[in-house]
């Protein structure tokens, strides 16, 4: 080997492993595809206007973006130090403790499922009148919801590989449509620059929590950026940059779109939102753009929802796979279809849950737009907000014990500031839940959602404590993820199956 001693040859291994390293744009793309711009701008915002009667949504997007950006400082810093970044419970397991981590992982499952199932309802509610308008077909919302549910279920279980490219194309088209429609609003005869959407005082007024909870739904998915910590070109720069860019892009796009829509909707925007629902976004721009553009916008809206569903479905299925491999969920979830690598069981369970909820809503006759799409989405948003808050505390906890390699701002400055802001936001969101859902204070939905999160959190903590006593090697691996050598696939399960407790 002396021949190579003078100058080391180009390492084939380094080159091969570096080939698919991701840049900033790729990470931003991935994050935004879960965020689904049209779903938020045309779906969540008008429905939220109608339900909460609050119009200061643009400033809420900006405020949430600022808080999340501060939170992200410590979040991406910690991602460089831990395995399985991208899952809140991994942070919480290592920053606060494994029991709370398991609790958080179960809360996250519920929150993500709420988003997923909300999208089924949203699709049905929005597509049903469109099918009538376009094809003269009178189809019940739940039939259409079941059609996209079936599509998602089939694609999910087969883990179709073209997903990524399709999502990226749709995403670009969506952003263009949102932007074009918002610009068109500016030239509408009704346009009158409204100050209500950007009224800073609303952030401390009654209903502030509802606004913030609504806004945060638009950002869900940003936390996935750190999944690529180890696959990015430059872990210290790519992921942080991509995260901040994604947060800023979301805030600017959504904030601007909401502002121009409200400004162009005339004086009674809340009333119009109530009557027109998601059509509001398209109606206010229609006189400038004409029917063709509006139809195109609607079509993209539907594909946007489908894209969001498929994207979220895969996130949920992989999340369950990871938990199954760790032993936090039954091991069966840690299995895949050998031929495709699809995390089959997580996908199937998600689909089963979705089917159940659609059927229950259809039979009970509940409103798919408000009671499923909006409640589910904003309820899931509250869940994610609580998880982010816990994660922020975990970041502090982690860096107090492992201060190496990060400066004060990344370790403590930003995380402490972020935690304080997030605690305030969480408090506001939970105390405004009646406003958010548009129901009477104390009525059923206002306590069912927080209670569900609380029950899962406590159940997860108890399960972790059981694991600590009965299966210490599983307990030790909590939060390390499917890529960890301590995780449990078929092989490790085989080793553990006959194993008395003499391994550790």
């Amino acid at each position: 080997m002396s021949a190579t001693a003078t100058k080391p040859p180009q390492s084939q291994l380094s080159t091969a492993l570096a080939r698919d390293r991701l840049g900033v744009a790729a990470v931003v793309f991935f994050v935004m595809s879960a965020a689904a711009p049209l779903t938020v701008v045309a779906g969540v915002v008008p429905t939220g206007l109608a339900v909460t009667e609050l119009t200061s949504i643009s400033i809420a997007f900006v405020a949430v973006a600022v808080v999340l950006a501060i939170f992200a400082v410590g979040y991406v810093a910690m991602a460089r130090h831990i395995a399985n970044a991208g899952a809140f419970y991994a942070y919480i397991s290592q920053g606060i403790g494994r029991p709370l981590g398991v609790g958080a992982s179960w809360v996250a499952l519920l929150a993500y499922n709420m988003f997923q199932i909300a999208a089924y309802g949203g699709f049905g509610a929005i597509a049903s009148p469109l099918f009538d308008k376009w094809f003269g077909l009178d189809i019940q919302w739940w039939i259409l919801a079941l059609v996209v549910w079936a599509l998602t279920a089939v694609l999910g279980v087969r883990d179709v590989a073209v997903n990524g490219k399709v999502l990226a194309t749709l995403l670009v088209a969506e952003i263009i449509v949102v932007f074009a429609f918002s610009i068109a609003d500016l030239f509408s005869p009704n346009f009158q620059a409204s100050s209500a959407p950007v009224d800073v005082s609303s952030l401390v007024g009654p209903g502030a929590g509802a606004l913030l909870a609504m806004a945060i739904t638009g950002f869900v998915g940003f936390e996935q950026s750190v999944v690529f910590s180890e696959e990015s070109r430059d872990p210290r720069r790519t992921v942080p940059r991509a995260t901040y860019i994604a947060i800023a892009l979301i805030a600017v796009l959504y904030g601007f779109a909401a502002w121009s829509m409200i400004s162009a909707a005339g004086p009674d925007v809340v009333g119009r939102a109530g009557q027109e629902g998601p059509d509001l976004f398209f109606n206010v721009a229609s006189d400038q753009l004409g029917g063709r553009a509006v139809d195109l916008g609607y079509a993209l809206f539907l594909t946007s929802l489908i894209a969001a569903m498929i994207s979220f479905h895969n996130i949920i299925a992989r999340y369950m796979f990871s938990l199954g491999r760790e032993g936090v969920l039954p091991r069966a979830f840690g299995r895949t279809v050998p031929g495709t690598g699809a995390p089959k069981n997580g996908s199937l369970i998600q689909s089963a849950l979705g089917l159940t909820v659609i059927v229950v809503y259809a039979v009970a006759g509940w409103d798919p737009l408000v009671n499923l799409f909006f409640w589910g989405g904003s309820g899931g948003g509250i869940g994610v907000l609580l998880l982010i808050t816990l994660t922020s505390i975990a970041v502090i906890g982690y860096f107090v014990r492992h201060p190496e390699g990060e400066d004060f701002w990344h370790r403590l400055g930003a995380p402490v500031l972020g935690t304080v802001l997030l605690l305030i936001m969480s408090y506001l969101a939970l105390s405004n839940i009646a406003t958010l859902f548009g129901v009477d204070p104390g009525s059923k939905p206002t306590w069912v959602v927080p209670l569900a999160f609380a029950v899962l959190l406590v159940a997860g903590v108890i399960w972790a404590l059981i694991l600590r006593g009965s299966r210490p090697q599983v307990y030790a691996g909590i939060g390390l993820g499917a890529r960890s050598a301590t995780s449990t696939g078929g092989f490790s399960a085989a080793l553990a199956s006959t194993e008395p407790k003499d391994h550790q």
Binding site: M1, T4, P8, P9, S11, Q12, L13, S14, A16, L17, R19, D159, G164, V227, E231, N314, R318, F321, S322, R325, G334, R335, T336, V337, P338, G339, T340, G341, A342, P343, G481, A482, R483, S484, A485, S487, G489, G490, F491, S492, A493, A494, L495, S497, T498, E499
Partner: protein, 217 residues
Amino acid sequence: MTASAQLPLADDLFLTAHDSVKGKCLLSPATLGLGMAAALIGELVLWRRLDIVDGKIQIIDDRPTGDPAANAVLDQLLREGHHRAVRDWISFLATGVATDLVERRLARAALVQRQEKRGLFGSNKVSFVPSDSMIAGWPATRIRTFVGRGEYLDIPDLVLTGLILATGLDQHVFLTLDVRDRTALFEQLRRRLPAMLLELVGQAEAAVGDAVMARRA
């Protein structure tokens, strides 16, 4: 070479990864690659050319082996002495290097043949499939037979068993094992698989899980 002879570890895994009726690969290319990579590294351990300690590869003997595929991997390991993490080597060899080496070795032995399939958009897809449907099923049948008779598997077959489990192939090939045989097989794995190879299979399994999470599987 008669059909009943035991092949090198990676060859056995390659055949096991193919449907014994249609010859179709049962694994995704990425997962097959990870299996092939781990199996070739495993062969070098069995050749006593390297050790695996704490996730790192240590070369204990740099003499060539009698086998071109294993040699190619050993050469590369020697050339790139600064990379030692077994996980990195599995990832690298899984990018197509390992599958390629194994396919060529099997093709030379006339156990697989090249198959060209017209793709959806006119592009031709080349794959190697077992030349005889009997061959593909042979390694798994051997394992099942040994376990059924209550006999000990040799070390290469134990590693093969481990990699079958790690890649998820057990959902195809161990489906017919009853509870007793399954328990006996797992018991053998646990008691008789040497620590180094156990670590190798564990790393392969983690790499498969990683690929699933990153949507590369």
